[in-house]
């Protein structure tokens, strides 16, 4: 299936803002994460911490992907300001 993948935060040091996966062979968020873990093993720590949004909704590892889905890979967020300490 075809997926549009968006990268945020520190993932943009390794990936571009968005990429088109033309022939993703898997069917779940867990499989997509395994795919990117293989593509970028040097970012290993990141993949354990990220959230995933499918079509602008938070998803889980078990969420089933469909052709044409937009999938955002979200490292821990850093919005706001005035860090607690």
């Amino acid at each position: 299936m075809r997926l549009e993948v968006l990268f945020f935060g520190v993932l943009r040091d390794r990936f571009s803002e968005r990429e088109e996966l033309l022939q993703f062979p898997g069917s779940t968020v867990a499989e997509l994460l395994r795919y990117y873990r293989a593509v970028a093993p040097e970012s290993a720590g990141i993949w354990e911490t990220i959230a995933v949004a499918v079509n602008q909704q938070y998803a889980t590892a078990a969420t089933v992907l469909r052709d044409g889905d937009e999938v955002a890979l979200l490292p821990p967020v850093s919005g706001g300001a005035g860090d607690a300490r």
Partner: protein, 146 residues
């Protein structure tokens, strides 16, 4: 309930003025601003990016939860995106209610929770390099690999 992502300078006074009503006795405002340094490194500017539709949805959800959880009358939550210079407001939260205790509690909860669950990212451009802001971990239920 005023919830907004904007690329313009945040008009704090306008947001607070629009929020206030006759039955309010207290407004607590949190103004998060771009600091001139992080751990001693001199900051030139910040860039904020977001997964915008989800970020807005989450911001609205947080505001609704704040009203329900703390019983405050109304809240406003505005986050800036794009390029910000030192001294500019990146996030403005205002909470209005009849009594003050809950306005403090709701305001604090909103900024603390926003910084854990709303997909907004800060890139800090220093005079000598750049760095993505370190985030706090997601609540476990949002971690996809779990």
């Amino acid at each position: 309930m005023h919830v907004e992502l904007t690329r313009e300078v945040i008009d704090a006074e306008g947001v607070v003025r629009a929020l206030k009503q006759g039955s309010d006795g207290a407004v607590t405002v949190f103004d998060g601003i771009v600091r001139d340094n992080t751990r001693g490194r001199q900051t030139q500017r910040l860039e904020y990016t977001a997964l915008e539709p989800l970020a807005l949805t989450e911001m609205r959800r947080l505001c609704e939860e704040a009203v329900e959880r703390f019983g405050v009358r109304d809240v406003a939550l505005v986050h800036r995106l794009g390029d910000l210079v030192v001294g500019e407001t990146s996030v403005l939260i205002a909470v209005a209610s009849a009594h003050r205790g809950v306005t403090f509690e709701a305001c604090r909860w909103l900024i603390d929770t926003l910084k854990k669950t709303v997909p907004i990212y800060k890139r800090e451009i220093f005079v000598d390099g750049a760095e993505w802001g370190h985030g706090e971990p997601f609540p476990p239920e949002l971690v996809a690999s779990r």
